[in-house]
């Protein structure tokens, strides 16, 4: 196994316990929310049936139950935040944990007989695997929630809609893009943000106090460069066709990502301080 894969494996192992805990919290919270929502719906139906209302009247008032009823609940989005916020924090922590604490593990990492950029790539890949893992768990949870609806709600009141159709158009499309093109756009922007953030951390670790200012400036410049096509579009009131605008954004995103990787490579080789 080459050093890069060993480092990825090591990064995954280091976060595995917390990550599993995170998944458990999300799963328990989301399934509880789903059970409460579905049971409330079922008891409402039973109550109305007991009052002698017809199915037509009930459906007219309540609508059919689908996974959409769960997905549109604010508590459902809170469980997504429970997954997203720790991962966002960990994007910083994945670097800082090597500098701080009882040990100076960064000494060991920087003295490994391997290209130092492998540290950068392994941490980035580990972050993406954590994100994909949570997305996979979310898909699984939606399927389980779909089964819960089927098990509790009578067939006549269950829309039985495929949850993948319901995702289309909902905020979940950001993490579960329906097309391959959108997948690359969504996760391409994610990769760019991750590289920019990692570079900002390395700037701070290289230049310390001055580095904080440089890192903030770097993030602002990266943001400006990425949005240049949109600025042009606004100033010229529609210079690009939509497809051209998307391509221009892809190019500007690639420029930001490549510059971030190049700068990080320079910092890790020439400027990093422990």
């Amino acid at each position: 196994m080459n050093n890069f894969l060993k480092l990825v494996h090591f990064e995954l192992k280091r976060f595995s316990k917390l990550y599993m805990g995170l998944i458990a919290i999300i799963a328990v919270a989301q399934l509880l929310i789903a059970l409460i929502i579905v049971n409330m719906y079922a008891s409402d139906i039973n109550r109305m049936l007991a009052q002698g209302k017809s199915s037509f009247e009930i459906l007219g008032k309540m609508g059919k139950m689908s996974i959409g009823n769960i997905m549109n609940n604010n508590l459902f989005y809170m469980t997504l935040m429970v997954g997203a916020i720790p991962l966002i924090i960990y994007m910083f922590f994945i670097w800082y944990r090597d500098w701080f604490g009882k040990s100076s593990f960064i000494y060991r990492l920087l003295m490994l007989p391997t290209n130092r950029m492998n540290l950068f790539y392994s941490k980035a890949v580990a972050m993406f695997l954590f994100i994909f893992g949570l997305v996979a768990v979310q898909v699984l949870l939606l399927q389980v929630e779909h089964w819960i609806i089927g098990a509790i709600v009578p067939r006549d009141y269950n829309s039985n809609l495929d949850f993948l159709n319901l995702i289309d158009g909902s905020p979940l499309t950001v993490i579960l893009p329906p097309t391959l093109e959108q997948f690359f756009l969504s996760y391409g922007v994610g990769a760019m943000l991750l590289v920019t953030l990692f570079t900002a951390v390395l700037l701070e670790r290289s230049f310390r106090l001055r580095g904080i200012v440089i890192a903030i400036l770097y993030c602002v410049v990266a943001g400006v460069v990425f949005f240049i096509p949109l600025f042009i579009q606004n100033l010229t009131e529609g210079y690009f066709y939509h497809k051209e605008e998307v391509w221009a954004l892809i190019v500007s995103g690639l420029v930001v990502t490549i510059c971030g990787i190049t700068l990080s490579n320079y910092l890790l080789k020439r400027k990093i301080t422990v």
Partner: protein
């Protein structure tokens, strides 16, 4: 040979190294001596590429430091370089995974030498035993050069003696060692070369044996002369 040539470094507005130059040969123990803040640790970090310097150069056997050099030279800092949550055997496995120059037999030998238990968690070790694990991680690498930063700092007398025994054993034989220490008494008789530092500069560099034979002075005698001037 490690050649440090005219290294200059600043931390903010403060100059830490003002043109430090010296050499450390393979098969010799070179000791960097100086009070706190003279730049001893910074020199070691500069050699290992762990902190940048403004000008000057470091050559290891005539070459600049690159990723392959970490199979030739290693650094034992004064803090543990492994995760505290690891058990000792996990730390050894980590080293074995990444370094082709890892000598598993020697690691086992060192575990016995230092009387350490492989199943012990690093975070549960005493300061002395943590320092020994750190030494083990460096010494079990088949490298030509070892840099050690204050290996006797803050540890009990028995651990100090055990670590000092390393310098008379085959564990450092034929290797180039650069060591920084305050506890000179422990190893004065073992040093081949002394480099006296102050204010980020080399004040004096000499072979200890020559100094003893030609001028009848010990390292401490020369230190008194140089630092009391």
């Amino acid at each position: 040979m490690i050649e440090v040539r005219d290294i200059k470094k600043r931390y903010g507005f403060k100059s830490v190294l003002n043109g430090v130059s010296f050499t450390a040969a393979k098969g010799e123990i070179t000791c960097l001596i100086g009070i706190n803040g003279t730049g001893k640790t910074t020199i070691l970090k500069s050699i290992m590429g762990l902190t940048p310097f403004r000008s000057g150069e470091v050559l290891i056997d005539g070459k600049h430091l690159d990723k392959h050099a970490y199979e030739k030279i290693t650094y034992i800092p004064d803090t543990i370089t492994m995760l505290p949550s690891m058990r000792i055997f996990e730390a050894l496995d980590f080293m074995k995974d990444f370094y082709s120059c890892w000598n598993a037999e020697r690691a086992e030998e060192l575990l016995k030498f230092f009387k350490l238990q492989g199943s012990d968690r690093i975070s549960h070790l005493s300061k002395g035993n943590t320092a020994k694990v750190n030494m083990l991680l460096g010494l079990a690498l088949d490298v030509d050069y070892l840099l050690m930063d204050e290996p006797f700092s803050g540890i009990d007398i028995f651990s100090r003696e055990q670590i000092a025994d390393v310098f008379t054993s085959h564990l450092v034989e034929n290797r180039g060692v650069i060591i920084t220490t305050h506890e000179l008494n422990e190893i004065e008789h073992l040093i081949d070369k002394a480099v006296l530092l102050d204010g980020g500069k080399v004040l004096k560099e000499f072979q200890t044996e020559d100094m003893r034979e030609q001028e009848g002075k010990s390292v401490v005698d020369v230190m008194r002369e140089v630092y009391n001037q």
